[in-house]
Subunit: 793 residues, 2 copies
C-alpha cells in the first residue's frame, strides 16, 4: 500500500476512533446517556466503540484481533502442516489468521480429494498395505519437512502412521501424496519423521517392540528378550526428486526397549542421531497373572536410555556389507554397532518424550514426561566420553552406557510433565510444552533459568514455533497444541475439538492471541514454515497421472475418445471439457468389467470436475489437466445417472447420460461375473494371503505373480484367457518381458501382440507392477521353466 | 461482565488508544520520526497503531475484526451446520468467529469420529446400502432443521445424499447420525431436505428421472416417457423421537422432468408444497447420434414448471388407500393426483434453482438460474386459479397448468444467474445469491425493487441468513457460500478451498466482515441457527450404544470382564477405565473370528479413548460411557500391539498388550477361515445380489434370509452350524421367533437355548435385523414349511 492511501485509511480510522472513544467514554463516565446510546445504534451502523462495548472486548482482545485478522488485501505469513491423527490426513492452516485451507489425505480414503477412489490413487495406497492386507486407516503422527543446510527447503513433507509403521511422502508443489513406504520390520512406530540437515536420511524409530520376523512366539520374559526388538530406521531420501530410496536405507537393531522420538544432530553433531526410549525395564505386563498392567510396570526404574547413533559411519558399514538382510531391510545388528562404535546409551529422565537438538547442534534437550525437568546434554561431553571410552557400564545387550554426570550440561525444572521443545532465534532460548501444569515454559538452556510461562486452555501436547527445530528459528509465532478444549467453544456434543492456541513470542512475555478449534483426532505435531518457501502449481499438463506426475498412456485428446469392447471388459477412453464428458452414455452388459479413463482437458483454475456414478459407489475429482481411472464390475442391471459436478457454471451438477447396464443370459453372466470378480478382487486387494507354511512352499516371485492377479489370464502348460507362459523366458528377453509387464501399452502396436489381442480378445492390463516386483515375476517365470525342464529329464 | 470490570477494561483500552493514536498520527503527519518508530518497536511490544501500520489494516478491517474476533470470555452467537459435499459429512462452525468445531459423518466412514468402524456404526451405514451393495461414499447436499410452528426447534437435522438418494437423520443432542433412509424409487435426488412447519413431513424430490422399478430399458424417447419418472417424497417425521416413519410416508409420481428444489408453505399456504423443475423438454441427449448433449438440449423451452402439491390432502388419500405400492413405497399416481386436485403446474423462469416461500407464506419466490430475474408468485392468486379452474392447458401427462400471468405477483431483475433466496426480519426484504454476477442482491419482493448489492469473492452458490427460511428470520448475519476461492488465500496446490464470506446485514448496506476458507467439496447449503436452541450432552450413561442410544446387551461392568471362546469365535467382553483396557492381551488362533465389545466406564469429558489394533486396520473412538464393538477374522498369525490413545494422561498412546495370533494346523485353519470369511463377507456387506430373473425365483423373505447371512449356520432339513430350521415355525410362536431374530441376547439364558449353545458351540449373533425384515424372514421360514409339506403329499 502506498503512503498516500495509507494516510487516507488512517484518517478515516482516526475519525472512527475519536467518535467511538467519545461515545464509550461518556457511556462509562456515568454521565447522562445520549439518545443514540440509550436505544443503541442499529447494529449495522455501530461505531467501533459500540461494537467493543456490545461484545465486551478488552484492549488486549482488540490488539490480538489486529494481530490476527487477515482481510483480503493482507497475506498470511506462515503455513502449517499438521498431523490429523486418526483422521489420517494433514490439515493445513495459515498463520496468523488460523484459517484451514487444505486437507492432504494420506492413510485414509478422502472422498472430497478423490484419494483412494481412482485406480491411480488407490494404487498408491496399495503400496502401504501390510502383509497383503488392505489398510485404509492410519494415525498420522509426526510431519517433517525436507531440509537443506539444516533449514526447511519447503519441497517435501513426510509423515508417519503410528498405528501401522508407514511413511507418506507429500509433494509441496501440489500438496498431494506421492509415495508410501512401509517399515518391513516394525509393528508400530511413533518417533518419525526427522530429517537430517541435508535430507540425507529420515529417522523413524519403532515404538512398541515386536518380533522383527513378524512371527508368533508365546509372550514370556525369555522369548521377549530373545525375539522382540526395537529399532531405528534411517530411510535414504532423494532431496531432488522427493522419493525414499528403500535399497539404500538401513536399520539399527535396538534392544526391546520402547523407543520413542528422535532428532538429528547439526553443525558439530552432524552425522549423529539421538533417540530416546522408555520401558527399558522390558516389562511385559500380565494382568492374567495378577501383575501390574503393561505401562505401569514400565516406570519402575528412575531413568531410561537416550540412544546415540552415528549414521555417517553406519552408512559406510552398510556399504561394506556389514548388515543382515531381514524382510528386505538392511539391519545393523547390535553387536556390529557396538563393535564399530556407532551406538551408545546415556541415562535420561524417566519416560521421556521429546529429544531435541538445539540450533547450534551443541546441546541435546530431553523432556522427562514423568519428571518435572528438562535435561540438557552437551554434545562435546558425549564425544569426550566416547573418545576416552569413559563408560559407567553396559546394558544387558552389551551397549556401552555413558554416565549421566559425564554427559550432562545441566537441568531445569520447567513444570510437571514436560513434553516437547521448540527453539527461538535468540541463542539459548527454548519453549517447552508442559502437559500436567498445562502451560508453556520459556527458558534458557545455556544459563539454565526459567524466563516466562503462559497457560494453555487445556492439556498441551506438542508445540511448534516457526522453523523451531532447524538451525534458523524465525520467532514471532508459537502454537500450543492442546489435546482438547473444555469450556472454550460452544458445545457440540461429547466430542470436543482440539485447541491450537496462537502465541505472540516476539516480545519478552508470551501472549496468547488466538484460539483455533480443530475438530480432529488427538493432536500430534505441526510444522510451521515461511510462506515464501512454497511454489505451488495450480494445474497439471493435460494427461497427467497425478501420482506419478507422468503422462498417462491412456490419456486421449478431444475428438479421439473411443471405447474398447471385449466380451469381458468395456474400456472407455474419454475426456472432460467445459463441464461435458465424452462419451455421455456408457452401455455395458451385466457382469462386464468397466474401466473409465477420463482426461480433463481444462487448464484454468476453475476446471475441477467430480464425475459420479449413482448407486455404484464410484466417484473421483479431476483437477485441471488430470487423467484418472475409475473401474468396477457392472454387477447390477439398470439405468444409473452419470453426473458431473462442475463449479464453473451456475448449473453445478449436470447429467451427462446414463450408465446403461443391460441383462445377460444367466449362464453367460455367471461366467463373466466369476471372471470379473476375480480381477476385481485382486484390484480391491483381497490379495492371496499365504500362511507362513504356505509361503515356504512358494517359488521366488510366485507371491507377486499371484498378487498381481496374473493367474486370472495365464496358466503354465496351456492356453487360458491369455497365452501359455511356460518357457516364455526362452521366447522373450528379460528386458522385453520387464517392459511388457510394467508398460504393456507401449507394446500394443507390435505385430505379434496385435495378433494375440485378436486371438484372446483381451489386452494385457497395466497392473502398476513396480520394477522390483517385475524382476521377481520374471524370476518366477524362469523358475517355472527350470522346474518343467527338470521334470522332463 | 459487571460494570466495574468493564470500566477497568475500557480505561486500559483508552490508554492504548491514546498512545497508539499519537504514534500513528505523528508517523503520518510527515514530521520527524522518533527513534522507536524509525527502527520499530520490538514486534511483541508493538502498540495497536504499530500493528495496524505493519499489517496495512484499514478502519473497515479493524471494525470487522472487532465484530468477529471472539476471545475466550465471549461466546459465539450462531451455530451453522453445512453440507460437506463429496466429503460426505457435515462441518459445523460458529458465527461470527467462523471457527470449525465439529464434523458429523454421514455418508462416509470417518476415522476420527470412528463412524463406520464399529459394528454398531457400520450397522447404521448398512441401512443406506443400495440394491444390496455397499455404498461408503455420498454427496451430502441440503441440510434441514426440524421445525415447530414454522421456526427451528434445534432438535434434529436431516441431510440428503444427492449422489445416491438417501436421507440421514442427526440428533443435535450429540451431533451424531441416528438413522439412514434410502429412497426406494429414485436414482438421484438434489432437492432435499425441506421440513413442513411442524416437521410433519420432509420433502425430497428426485433429480434426474429414472425408471421407478430400477429396471433396464433401452434409452429412447418412447421408453423415456413411458418408464422414466420423477417424483416427490413426503417422508413422515416424528418430531419427538427424531425418526423418519417409512410406513406413513408417500411419494407423488411426477412426469420425467428433472425436478429440483422444494419448499413447504406456511401460514396461509400451510399444507401445500412447491417444487421446481428443469428439462421439461424431456430431452434424452444423444451425442452418438450427433445431437446436442444432455443438459444443452434441456434449455430449448423458455420456461419450466413449478409443481404445486397439497400434502395435507395427499395424506388423507393415502389413508384411504388411494396409492400404488412400488418397492415398498406408497406412490400417488399422476392420474389420481390430478383427479383429486392436489397437483398443478405453473410456468417458471427457465432452468430455475431455488424456490422459497416467504416468512408470511403469501409469496413464493423462484430464482431463474438461466434468467436474470426472480419471479414472485402470489399464493392467493394460485388458490383463486385452482378454485376457478382457471387453467391455460395441461401438460402431456394431463396435469393442469396455471398461466403465469394468473399466478405472478411480479418479477425483479437481480443479476445474471440468480440461485437462492433467504429472508430478513424486515417484511418484504430478501437476499438472493447471483452466480454469474458473483454478488448478493438485497431487494424488496413486495414492492419489487432492488435495495443493495454486495460482491462475493468468487462465484456464489447458496447463501444463508439466520433462520432465513423460517417464519422468523433473525437478521444480523448472512453467509455467502462461494464455490471456490481465487487469489484469496495463500495457494496450496490445484485444489482451492471454498470461501464462506460472512456479511453483516444489520444495517442498510451489506458489509463483508470475514472470509472463511473451507477445504471441502462443492459448497451446497448451510443452516444457521441461534446457539440458545442447542442443548447438547457431553457423555452417555455407561453401556450406551450411541446409535440406538440404548444400553448395549453386551456391556459389562469392571470386574465382570470375560471372554467367551468357541472353536470358531473369540468374543471379548471388556472395559476401558482410566486409560486401561481389561483384558490387556487377546489370545486367538489363526482363522478365528474375533469380536471385541468394550465398555468405556469413564464419565468425565476427558474420557475419550481410541483403541487401535496395529496392521489389522481396526480402530474405534469410545466416547464417555459408550459401549462399542470391533470385529474381524484373525487371518494373520503374529504379535500385534494393542494400543489405547488416551488424551487424559501425558503418556498419550499406551500399549495395552498384544493381539497374539497363534498358528493352527493347516487343515483346521482352512476350515475356520472358510467359515469365518463367510460371516465376515456378510458383515462387510458383500451381499448376495440376485439378478431380476433370480429375484423372481426367490420365495418371499428368501432374499432377507440370504442377506443377513442366515445360511452361514442354518439349512432346511438338516443340522448345520446351527439347528435345522425346517418346521421351526411349528415349534415356535411368531412372536418368539421375531424376538429371537431381533434380540437373541435376550433369550440366551433360556434353558433350551443354552442347550443348543452347548451343542453347536455357537451363539446366534445379533444381526441388527429390522422389524420388517424379521417379519419377512419368518414369512420365508413358513413358506419353506409349506413347500416341504406340499412335497410330502
Amino acid at each position: 500500500m502506498n503512503m498516500k492511501k495509507f494516510s487516507t485509511y488512517i484518517s478515516l480510522f482516526m475519525a472512527t476512533l475519536i467518535i467511538s472513544s467519545l461515545l464509550v467514554f461518556t457511556g462509562c463516565g456515568g454521565k447522562k446517556k445520549s439518545a443514540v446510546e440509550e436505544i443503541g445504534a442499529p447494529r449495522g451502523d455501530e461505531s467501533f466503540g459500540q461494537v467493543i462495548k456490545r461484545r465486551g472486548l478488552t484492549s488486549d482482545d482488540i490488539l490480538a484481533a489486529a494481530k490476527t485478522y487477515t482481510p483480503d488485501h493482507v497475506q498470511d505469513e506462515y503455513v502449517t502442516v499438521n498431523s490429523g491423527g486418526q483422521e489420517g490426513n494433514l490439515p493445513t492452516y495459515l498463520v496468523p489468521s488460523m484459517r484451514l485451507v487444505k486437507y492432504t489425505p494420506t492413510n485414509t480414503r478422502n472422498p472430497y480429494d478423490g484419494y483412494g477412489y481412482s485406480t491411480e490413487t488407490y494404487g498408491l495406497m496399495r503400496q502401504g498395505f501390510i502383509d497383503g492386507h488392505q489398510i485404509l486407516w492410519g494415525d498420522t503422527h509426526h510431519p517433517g519437512i525436507s531440509e537443506t543446510n539444516g533449514d526447511y527447503n519447503g519441497k517435501w513433507l513426510v509423515i508417519n502412521d503410528k498405528a501401522n509403521p508407514r511413511l507418506f511422502v507429500v509433494d509441496l508443489k501440489d500438496f498431494e501424496p506421492k509415495q508410501v513406504i512401509k517399515n518391513p520390520l516394525f509393528r508400530s512406530d511413533h518417533g518419525g519423521c526427522f530429517f537430517t540437515p541435508n535430507s540425507e536420511y529420515i529417522m523413524e524409530a519403532s515404538q512398541y517392540p515386536a518380533p522383527f520376523d513378524h512371527k508368533y512366539y508365546p509372550l514370556n520374559d525369555v522369548n521377549f528378550r530373545k525375539y522382540w526388538r526395537g529399532g531405528l530406521t534411517y530411510w535414504k531420501f532423494d532431496n531432488e526428486n522427493g522419493r525414499i530410496d528403500k535399497k539404500n536405507s538401513f536399520t539399527f537393531e535396538f534392544p526391546p526397549y520402547t523407543q520413542d522420538l528422535s532428532d538429528a544432530g547439526k553443525n558439530a553433531s552432524y552425522g549423529w542421531g539421538f533417540t530416546n526410549s522408555f520401558c527399558t525395564e522390558m516389562y511385559i505386563g500380565g494382568d492374567m497373572q495378577g501383575r501390574p498392567p503393561f505401562e505401569a510396570g514400565c516406570s519402575s526404574r528412575d531413568v531410561d536410555y537416550l540412544h546415540v547413533t552415528n549414521w555417517k559411519k553406519a552408512a559406510e558399514l552398510v556399504k561394506q556389507g556389514k548388515y543382515k538382510l531381514i524382510n528386505g531391510m538392511k539391519v545393523i545388528p547390535i553387536k556390529e554397532a557396538i563393535k564399530y562404535g556407532i551406538l551408545f546409551l546415556i541415562p535420561e529422565p524417566k519416560s521421556p518424550h521429546g529429544v531435541d537438538v538445539d540450533p547450534t547442534g551443541d546441546y541435546i534437550l530431553v523432556a522427562g514426561k514423568l519428571d518435572s525437568h528438562v535435561w540438557v546434554y552437551s554434545f562435546k561431553k558425549i564425544m569426550n566420553a566416547i573418545k576416552n571410552k569413559d563408560f559407567e557400564g553396559y546394558d544387558s545387550y552389551g551397549i556401552p552406557i555413558i554416565a549421566l554426570k559425564t554427559a550432562l550440561h545441566g537441568s531445569v525444572e520447567v513444570g510437571l510433565g514436560p513434553l516437547h521443545n521448540q527453539f527461538d532465534p535468540v541463542k539459548g532460548v527454548v519453549y517447552t510444552s508442559v502437559y500436567v501444569d498445562s502451560w508453556t515454559t520459556k527458558w534458557d538452556y545455556i544459563n539454565l533459568k526459567v524466563l516466562d510461562h503462559v497457560s494453555s486452555n487445556y492439556n498441551i501436547g506438542h508445540l511448534v514455533s516457526t522453523h523451531g527445530d532447524t538451525k534458523h528459528p524465525q520467532g514471532k509465532y508459537l502454537i500450543e497444541l492442546d489435546k482438547l478444549s473444555i469450556d472454550r467453544f460452544n458445545p457440540v456434543g461429547p466430542l470436543h475439538p482440539q485447541n491450537h492456541q496462537l502465541i505472540d513470542i516476539s516480545g519478552d512475555k508470551m501472549k496468547i492471541i488466538y484460539d483455533m478449534p480443530l475438530p480432529m483426532g488427538e493432536p500430534h505435531y505441526t510444522v510451521m514454515f515461511n510462506k515464501d518457501l512454497l511454489h505451488t502449481i495450480d494445474k497439471y499438463p493435460v494427461g497427467t497421472d497425478i501420482v506419478s506426475l507422468k503422462k498417462a498412456s491412456y490419456a486421449v485428446t478431444p475428438g479421439n475418445e473411443h471405447t474398447n469392447r471385449s466380451k469381458r471388459t468395456v474400456e472407455v477412453f474419454g475426456t472432460i471439457q467445459n463441464g461435458k464428458v465424452v462419451p455421455e452414455n456408457i452401455r455395458v452388459k451385466q457382469g462386464q468389467k468397466v474401466i473409465i479413463h477420463l482426461t480433463n482437458v481444462g487448464q484454468t483454475e476453475l476446471d475441477h470436475y467430480v464425475y459420479e456414478i449413482a448407486s455404484y459407489d464410484k466417484q473421483y475429482r479431476w483437477r485441471p489437466g488430470e487423467t484418472a481411472t475409475l473401474q468396477f464390475v457392472a454387477t447390477k442391471a439398470g439405468m444409473y445417472p452419470l453426473m458431473l459436478d462442475d463449479i464453473s457454471s451456475p448449473e453445478g451438477r449436470k447429467l451427462q447420460g446414463y450408465l446403461q447396464v443391460s441383462y445377460r443370459p444367466a449362464a453367460e453372466k455367471a461366467r463373466l461375473l466369476a471372471f470379473s470378480k476375480r480381477i476385481q478382487k485382486d484390484n480391491e486387494m483381497q490379495k492371496f494371503q499365504p500362511s507362513a507354511i504356505e509361503l515356504k512352499n512358494l517359488l521366488p516371485g510366485e507371491l507377486e505373480f499371484l498378487n498381481y492377479g496374473c493367474t486370472a489370464c495365464h496358466k503354465f502348460g496351456k492356453d487360458f484367457n491369455g497365452p501359455d507362459l511356460l518357457m516364455v523366458d526362452k521366447r522373450r528377453s528379460d528386458k522385453w518381458l520387464k517392459s511388457w509387464i510394467m508398460n504393456p501399452e507401449k507394446h500394443m502396436k507390435e505385430a505379434d501382440i496385435q495378433a494375440m489381442r485378436n486371438k484372446y480378445k483381451l489386452a494385457m492390463p497395466n497392473q502398476n507392477v513396480s520394477s522390483s516386483d517385475a524382476d521377481k515375476i520374471i524370476k518366477y517365470l524362469k523358475a517355472k521353466s527350470t522346474e518343467f525342464l527338470k521334470q522332463q529329464q
